[in-house]
Symmetry: C2
Subunit: 219 residues, 2 copies
């Protein structure tokens, strides 16, 4: 019997159909691919391209986009540090559910603070740290770091946000007046080539190869 | 550009692989089966049995169990009315994501207040009410009401909670000292037969037949 939430009346309900059965149905392993990086670094581009590539191979993925979730699950949260932390905690919890459901969950969030990313890794009490990757309820969480220079992101500025931030019209903008903590232990790092982002299909291919090598694309 | 969350920098990111493509991969339609009823009314039993039956037909479902989520996503919430409301709001939002991912999402929560259940139905601004059922981002949310008399639930008392509530050791327990608003517009009502709950497979069969009739078990 648990005492979480100041109550004794919470039980853990086991389901007879578990993660293994769902993975068998899908012929893949549930996992989380967490894409982190500055605004404009190509996170959403990679997420969409990866989703396409996986679909072409008959694999079921689902994108948790940080911006989209702020319209729904996280619409009560703003952008101050504690809200960003709660935002990432909730996305981590939902990503865990999707991985448990057997999907390849692609989370795409700036997720600027190292401590919040680390909290996602450490979310479960029974988690096993295996070097830089983690079993989350039997699921891995793998980080992809979009390592693009600020200047390049700002030049791209696909949403016009850097302009607004430079003009002081957006406060607390990551990279301008709010920090981005560089990842220390990401599994995949996507780098610029000759001062530009790689092609979407090339970035996605790199992640697909990683997933394939790790055995995620079969049950 | 949205102003949700007191910020202008939230965009809606469209994915090229959408719900229709995922449904095609799964050969089913994403939807939400929301099971509501008193503690001990058989919600979890139905959820598990339904998950089994769907799996036997090659369909992918995922159970969102109210108690389980209180260990993760909703661990910051207690049992006062506003926390119950937020609990149900978040489960509704996550259920919506699962339906969008193409899964048959089975949400199993007491969800005692009608206003909270109604809020789940009305969650999306573009929702179309079609009699008692609702398009949620193109997904239906269907309610299953476990209509079991309090006396029967209390006699079953599978978790020993009614005993604790009657002894005053749990406060605000639904059915004892906190209300359960009877559903006015549920799609399926599971009733007692001769003073006992129906067999799990019989209850699940009723829901499977409903899902089949509505066309959810093919894309």
């Amino acid at each position: 019997m648990s005492t979480i939430g100041n109550s004794m009346n919470i039980f853990w309900q086991e389901s007879p159909i578990g993660k293994l059965e769902r993975q068998k149905l899908l012929n893949q392993k549930g996992c989380v691919v967490w894409i982190t990086g500055l605004s404009g670094s190509g996170k959403s581009t990679l997420a969409c391209s990866l989703s396409n590539e996986l679909y072409a191979r008959g694999k079921l993925s689902y994108i948790l986009d940080g911006d989209n979730l702020r319209h729904g699950l996280n619409k009560d949260l703003g952008f101050k540090a504690e809200d960003r932390t709660e935002n990432i905690r909730r996305v981590g919890e939902v990503a865990k559910l999707f991985a448990d459901a057997g999907l390849i969950c692609i989370a795409s969030l700036i997720s600027p603070y190292r401590k919040d990313r680390d909290a996602c890794r450490a979310m479960l009490p029974d988690s096993n740290f295996i070097e830089a990757s983690l079993f989350l309820n039997g699921s891995h969480l793998d980080y992809v770091f979009m390592n693009m220079p600020l200047a390049l992101c700002e030049e791209r500025d696909p949403k016009g946000l850097y302009k607004l931030a430079r003009a002081g019209k957006i406060k607390g903008f990551t990279g301008i007046d709010d920090p981005y903590d560089l990842p220390l232990n990401c599994e995949i790092e996507i780098n610029q080539k000759d001062g530009v982002c790689p092609m979407p299909s090339a970035m996605a291919g790199e992640v697909v190869t990683y997933l394939e090598d790790k055995g995620y694309l079969q049950d």
